[in-house]
């Protein structure tokens, strides 16, 4: 009984973790991409450099989402609170 409540709570927690982990980086990535497009529009010859930096920083922001995903995955597949 306790185990099933814990697993239900873990599933909900995993969903919340992924959802909120997607929220912040989504806003951040949108900001970064918008600024990059603005930069390219203002100075088209710098496109290569801007694209490289943008991809790198997008990947950094992506990693925040991934942390949330790792927490969610460990709750779903390797739950430390269920079983022994």
């Amino acid at each position: 009984m306790v185990d099933s409540i814990v697993s239900a709570a873990s599933v909900v927690a995993a969903a919340i973790a992924v959802g909120f982990a997607g929220l912040g980086p989504g806003i951040g990535q949108g900001n970064a991409a918008g600024q990059a497009v603005e930069g390219i529009a203002r100075q088209p010859e710098a496109e290569g450099k801007i694209r490289g930096t943008l991809l790198l920083s997008l990947a950094f922001m992506e990693s925040l989402t991934i942390y949330g995903l790792v927490v969610a995955l460990s709750l779903l597949f390797a739950n430390p609170f269920v079983g022994g």
């Binding site: 991809l55 790198l56 990947a59 950094f60 992506e62 990693s63 991934i66 942390y67 995903l69 790792v70 995955l73 779903l76 597949f77 390797a78």
Partner: protein, 235 residues
């Protein structure tokens, strides 16, 4: 409902190889990473063994790889020190890239294992943890080698009250490196697996392409960060 799947969702299942009572190996991880190491080494040896003034196709490719890793090391560590740590950066880059692509490009599902499945070695958190710990060991080594005992001055910069944060950073750096690589690779494989279980035809291909792209970016990020951490302590 059974459909033909090239990929199935399995997290944390491994083929255990018992060496002794207490010593186990993750068979599939060790096998695929040994394969990656062999293939990458053979590629580099074949590309550099017969150097020509006018490079052929293979030598061109190796030169592009060299230019890439050299630019990573050079931009992060500066012109005076980069050559000492270029081999480390290049090794990390090539191993991570090779492992990620080995998981995505080779149809491992055709080979049946009793438990677990063959996939990218970076799909196993032990591999990425090892890479991350190697990175932190190498920046300690770099600091001691170049700064000597003055390395510890780094911990009280820019002010003394930042000492605890600087110490905690030594632990969070490998942790975040580890989770970033592991999470990205697992996320790629899970996305492909989920889409494959919904529509096992053509639809997953663009996602797989995206995964290939993302995993090469991850290799770039991992080696850039490793070079950056080394550059930070020796500047």
């Amino acid at each position: 409902m059974y459909t033909f799947l090239l990929s199935k969702i399995e997290v944390g299942a491994h083929l255990y190889v018992d060496l002794t009572e207490n010593l186990h190996l993750h068979g599939e991880t060790v096998f695929v990473s040994a394969l990656v190491v062999t293939v990458v080494s053979l590629f580099l040896i074949a590309g550099t063994s017969n150097l020509q003034k006018v490079p052929g196709n293979l030598q061109n490719l190796v030169e592009v790889v060299y230019e890439t890793v050299k630019s990573i090391a050079l931009t992060q560590m500066g012109p005076s020190y980069y050559s000492q740590f270029l081999p480390f950066t290049a090794t990390i880059f090539l191993f991570v890239l090779g492992s990620n692509w080995a998981g995505a490009l080779i149809p491992w599902k055709l080979i049946e294992l009793p438990e677990g499945e063959l996939s990218a070695p970076t799909n196993d958190i032990n591999t990425t943890a090892c890479l991350a710990l190697l990175t932190s060991l190498s920046y300690f080594f770099a600091g001691f080698k170049i700064k000597g005992i003055g390395y510890f001055k780094r911990y009280v910069k820019p002010a003394l009250f930042l000492l605890p944060i600087n110490i905690v950073e030594d632990f969070t750096k490998p942790l975040s490196l580890n989770f970033r690589l592991f999470g990205n690779v697992v996320a790629d494989e899970l996305t492909v697996a989920v889409i494959c279980s919904l529509v096992p035809f053509i639809v997953p291909v663009p996602i797989m392409m995206l995964g290939l792209f993302a995993s090469s970016i991850q290799a770039l990020i991992f080696s850039t960060l490793a070079a950056n951490y080394i550059g930070e302590v020796i500047e």
